[in-house]
Symmetry: C2
Subunit: 429 residues, 2 copies
Amino acid sequence: MTAPVPPLQLSQRWHYAKEQAISFLMQQAVENPQVISLAAGLVDADSLPVAETRHACERLLADDLAARNALQYGTTAGAVRLRRQILNLFAELEGRSPADLGITPEQIVLTTGSQQLLSIACEVLLDPGDICLVSGPTYFVFCGNLNGVGAEPIVIPADEHGMDTDKLESALQILEQAGQLSRVKLIYSVSYYENPSGICLADERRKRIVELARKYSKSHRICVLEDAAYRELRYDGPAHPSIWGYDATRSSVLYTQTFSKSFSPGVRIGFAVLPADLVKPVCDRKGNEDFGSPNFNQHLLAMVLESGEYRSHVDQVCAAYRAKRDAMLAAASEFFSDLEGVSWVRPHGGLYVWMSLPAHIHTGFSSELFRTAVAEGVMYVPGELSYAGPRESVPRNQMRLSFGVQGVDGIREGMQRLARAVRKIMSGR
Amino acid sequence: MTAPVPPLQLSQRWHYAKEQAISFLMQQAVENPQVISLAAGLVDADSLPVAETRHACERLLADDLAARNALQYGTTAGAVRLRRQILNLFAELEGRSPADLGITPEQIVLTTGSQQLLSIACEVLLDPGDICLVSGPTYFVFCGNLNGVGAEPIVIPADEHGMDTDKLESALQILEQAGQLSRVKLIYSVSYYENPSGICLADERRKRIVELARKYSKSHRICVLEDAAYRELRYDGPAHPSIWGYDATRSSVLYTQTFSKSFSPGVRIGFAVLPADLVKPVCDRKGNEDFGSPNFNQHLLAMVLESGEYRSHVDQVCAAYRAKRDAMLAAASEFFSDLEGVSWVRPHGGLYVWMSLPAHIHTGFSSELFRTAVAEGVMYVPGELSYAGPRESVPRNQMRLSFGVQGVDGIREGMQRLARAVRKIMSGR
């Protein structure tokens, strides 16, 4: 007898952002629990900081005044106590003294993971139709953020040293000649052990990105969003300076990093180092979204940093991941070496091995390979999800393989299953 | 020698949202530390759950598997363990059995405070130029959310029973006659002990709001956003049913509540009960913003709910606030009764007493009264901040007085100082 419920009418914003590949992947994982996931971006469960968190909780909650401070509202920008610790950590990563960084603790803003900063940066800097230059491939969740604000990504090809900065300059020249430079607002780079490619951006390209952002900042500033989520997960190779470090004016680069990988994603704290005149805009937006990430977690993490346990935990985490990366690379050699046209990147850090198949072997959700892999009991992230821009121009033959979640044995077994699936498709069976 | 840094060019979105009164208030508080703040929306420090949090942390971190689950990534919608507990709590508040609610745990989504849900609801449901009907006065941070998406608030006058639903219907009729009904997407109501007015919406008006939303849902659904942030802070008077409870189809009302007031704002967990077809849109948006609030906190709070400590904590919190409310009302009688044209609301819950002065006494930041109050050593929130819409049509003679932060003595002293300031202005000295 009741009249039918009239349809929802959702915002344009929602329509921009509704296609999220991650949902399909999570659904697949739920529906196929026996599958070994080399897809999931979760972290290694064994090295999660149970003891460190317990110590910090004990100390924090034994001190009545400190406990009440932590359980009360914080500020939108985050607890000063943690921001000071982060300033020290950041200085150390940069190889400078805190005083020598040329910033104040006020330029450090705490967020719910670095993801929230990526989202807020897009909200604050990009209007519909604005352009953001990104690597191909790049972090696929960020493509969702660009879509979400109606911005247009322009993909700059990358090689084994990361985004090709000559091609970045060509793109900027072409945009300028076409009278489109006013639409260019942002250059996005995952500068350390990139998700998905595992590649670490070469030092001279870091410098060049800053120079190009500055050179083409004519009527307005072109900002660089440096996503250093994996910086502390370094297993070998040199400790690269940040893109941010090359920005002598401290005005062009928004630097973001997270404790989700190096400490705990359940505690979920990211931070940004911002140009001074972006602090208020970012905090205005964050104020509207949640007026501050959980203060309790910020005080907790501050204790872990203050006690020195953070440092030793990062060393443990890196040792665990190094072994898992080595296991994945060994399994890749063992099971894929004899397959013609199959290649992969050897990452010096991060969580991912990026594998390319012969160009005609497609890896997408609707491909024969994806179905065969699931039937064999293994899952990966199709590489095409990590390319922004028009579908038709995107390589279809790549896979992101994560060594984050599985143990050494699971990694080997997963790689063996995957090789079986690839072999079937390549041999046409 | 370096060229000047070119100016930032911020998004239209940021320009919509940049004026946030809260920043001015916080700055005032920092600059005048000796001032008794009846403005701050913080909670009572003495009743923060230090022991309860310690117990939950101890148990959670003593169980290695549970601890690792909590420290790992969660899901965008939040930990199932907590959502089940919330379903039980919500059923109890509604006076029904969980099975009788007509919803599944999947319709409960966890957010960073209820604020994040308010923000996401606006992002998902409102395009620039869309209309949201709100009470006058209403929660001022929500006005910022409406501004932030470029939506237009239409203010429906309220009396001592809350939003006047006859006037709500008139407004809807007028909009329909003007051919503007297609722009109306949302009705917002703080249904319990409203911030700022302290008023609890009358039962028959709750029912009527649902009926009107449904009646005027012609080409599309008009949703109701019920903000029940203060529901559990009830000190006397009846336990009102929610607006949500009157929505038999479970399709029109987005209900949101928070543990920030009843437990701890530092843990910062809010929840929403959503129409089934809004779960995906809300999670899509939340996925883009942060793909999930901290999982650790969700497991922590689940333990507090499971152990029964939550219930007894809420009783303690209510006892503490009841005493502080009584102190504020007693001080109002003591210091303001002889001032002609001064009146105030006696709230049955929440954190605020809403006071009206004679119409010619303005209370805004730039008013003589505000300056005089700060000079006397007390601060309040000017009532005009809590009215959406055009400045010129807004009452200028009201104040939101919070009994959240100050102790009983501070409340009395603050009220005495405030009365001194009001007396000075009223007597023209």
